[in-house]
């Protein structure tokens, strides 16, 4: 009898703990948004911060953003989407390609405001819009011509993310056509990233890291390794510069979140999804401690931000 009572007590305490740390789903009149992120890192937190901050600015309406983190597990992401499908969300904000693929497959009647994804024929999908920077390949080729001499080699490191995979290969061909030596290095995990950089430490040139979840999350460690060498580190987001990369062309992550929130607010008011206003102007970020000198005339169409 005592044993049964103890077990019951344990179960009740466990359930109380579970409910105490749960977000819960308040059934209010608020506009409910589900944000699905593939994994957690600084850039993701900035995006989420951007969304929440911008939504708070709309004083006329209440918003309730629920964050779902798939923790790099594709099956968990599927379960999350089933949960979203059964819940009363008014809009979905998936971050990245896989989260957006699930959203498009499962959510047909609610707006999907995706951030930084690469879907096939996305313009044909009525309830879908993708927010991304308007970085052009020529921006990167310009920057690389500025940073590298012809005798130096460029290493493009990326993981197997579909968007980055495609971008890297196009960019590599473009840079090769300008007479530079380019080598693409594909990595699968953080250990391989650091190992690749250690191998490159005997070389000179530059490493280019595109907006890549795996590499962005490893940026502090990448910077630490690169600082031991003469290699320059080119990135494509503000966060990487804050972590110590030399130079980057990209966007501030929280701007992506803010843009998503702007579209959410607009949708809440008009009930139509604005598919035209989804690009964010890219910025040239420079680390104040970097030895790279920038000629502003070369980047006259870009806003230049120096980060200390």
């Amino acid at each position: 009898m005592i044993k049964i009572r103890n077990k019951l007590l344990q179960t009740v305490l466990f359930l109380m703990y579970v409910f105490s740390i749960s977000n819960g789903y308040a059934h209010t009149n608020a506009f409910k948004v589900a944000v699905v992120i593939p994994m957690e890192h600084l850039a993701m937190n900035d995006i989420i911060g951007g969304i929440k901050k911008e939504l708070e600015k709309d004083n006329n309406n209440d918003y309730q953003a629920t964050i779902y983190n798939a923790q790099g597990d594709i099956n968990l992401m599927k379960l999350i989407y089933q949960q979203i499908f059964r819940s009363e969300f008014d809009a979905i904000v998936p971050v990245g390609t896989i989260a957006s693929q699930f959203a498009v497959k499962l959510i047909k009647d609610k707006p999907i405001i995706s951030i930084d994804s690469d879907l096939k024929e996305e313009k044909k999908i009525k309830n879908f819009v993708n927010i991304e920077s308007n970085n052009s390949y020529s921006d990167f080729t310009n920057l690389i011509q500025h940073v590298l001499s012809n005798s130096e080699k460029l290493y493009i490191i990326h993981s197997n993310d579909i968007k980055i995979f495609k971008k890297s290969s196009v960019l590599a061909n473009l840079i090769k056509s300008k007479g530079y030596k380019v080598q693409i290095i594909t990595v699968n995990n953080l250990y391989e990233v650091l190992n690749a950089i250690k191998i490159l430490s005997r070389e000179s040139g530059a490493i280019l890291v595109l907006r890549d979840n795996l590499l962005v999350s490893a940026m502090p460690a990448i910077v630490r390794e690169v600082k031991k060498t003469k290699i320059k580190l080119i990135a494509s987001d503000e966060g990487s510069i804050k972590n110590g990369a030399d130079i980057a062309i990209g966007v501030q992550e929280n701007e992506l979140g803010k843009k998503a929130a702007e579209l959410l607010i607009e949708y809440n008011k008009t009930k139509t999804l604005n598919k035209k206003n989804s690009k964010i102007d890219s910025i040239l970020f420079k680390n104040a401690s970097s030895s790279i000198k920038i000629d502003p005339k070369m980047f006259h169409n870009k806003k230049i931000v120096t980060i200390k």
Partner: protein, 291 residues
């Protein structure tokens, strides 16, 4: 009811994979992690063939057979026992990662606008078409395994796991049974990959990451629970198949419960792990007090 359907769908989708792990882990007594690669192999092969405009049914067949080929490859690596099964499985998973990338050319292929076997079911039977298709696969795979393990061939497969030397003594080649067992195991893993690809609408080179551990975990949970209901130590294929299904259902029910109550994402896996430990401990205590 709807949540129950979600759990059923997710469980049925990965059920062949758990069966595959059951054959290698429980029948052959081999820890084979190749299933992680052959799961993606099935999925990537299926997606690629669909894009090449091959008939979905033929694509599905070729994709699952490619999983069997992975089984042949892994058993060849392990021939003469010079490389142990765990090492061979890990190496094979590495090899399959590159092969899968080579097949797809890119890390992710989207197929949600292609006609698949499953989409035909959905067109014909409506919303529950996916579930019907998965149920058919569930019964077919169970039926095949029940027939297999009631024949001499199935008995010899079990003999390989229990005592390979005995097989040799009665004039059978143990290696041949290892090949057959791993072929079936990886075939089932690839089948799971093909179904996952059809339900998800894409194939991704990273989609198999950690899936073998999920399957092993489900297998062990199911076995532990079923052992409480029936303490008969005799080999009963029905009991084993039920334990595989029960295990995967409990695993996904736990995660779905925590998602449903809106748990903070940081705590999700911690709580899933803790509650499964709690469940297994409770069962173990019950077993101890029964004894």
């Amino acid at each position: 009811m709807k949540i129950f359907l979600d759990i059923t769908q997710q469980s049925l989708m990965l059920y062949p994979l758990v069966l595959g792990v059951y054959i290698s882990y429980k029948i052959l007594k081999i820890t084979d992690l190749t299933v992680e690669g052959s799961f993606v192999l099935g999925s990537s092969m299926f997606a690629k063939l669909l894009m090449e405009e091959i008939n979905p049914m033929i694509s599905m067949l070729i994709a699952v057979l490619s999983g069997s080929l992975a089984g042949v490859a892994i058993s060849t690596i392990q021939k003469d026992d010079k490389i142990d099964s765990l090492t061979a499985g890990i190496l094979m998973t590495f090899i399959l990662y590159s092969i899968n990338l080579k097949i797809m050319k890119v890390p992710n292929l989207q197929i949600y606008d292609f006609t698949t076997v499953m989409s035909n079911f959905v067109d014909f039977f409506g919303l529950y078409g996916e579930l019907l298709f998965l149920t058919i696969i569930f019964f077919l795979s169970n039926l095949i395994l029940i027939i297999l393990f009631s024949t001499q061939l199935g008995l010899n497969l079990r003999a390989y796991g229990d005592n390979p030397k005995l097989l040799k003594k009665i004039g059978k080649s143990p290696h041949q049974y290892k090949i057959l067992g791993l072929c079936i195991s990886n075939f089932l893993a690839a089948l799971s990959g093909v179904m996952t690809c059809q339900i998800y609408g894409f194939s991704d080179v990273n989609m198999g990451f950690g899936i073998a551990l999920t399957a092993i975990c489900a297998l062990l949970i199911g076995e532990k629970i079923l052992n409480q209901i029936s303490s008969d130590s005799k080999f009963l294929i029905f009991k084993d198949l039920l334990s595989c299904y029960l295990g995967i259902v409990i695993y996904y029910s736990t995660i779905t419960f925590f998602l449903k109550v809106g748990i903070d994402p940081i705590h999700l896996k911690l709580l899933t792990g803790l509650s499964l430990i709690f469940l297994l401990k409770t069962i173990a205590n019950k077993s101890y007090s029964n004894e």
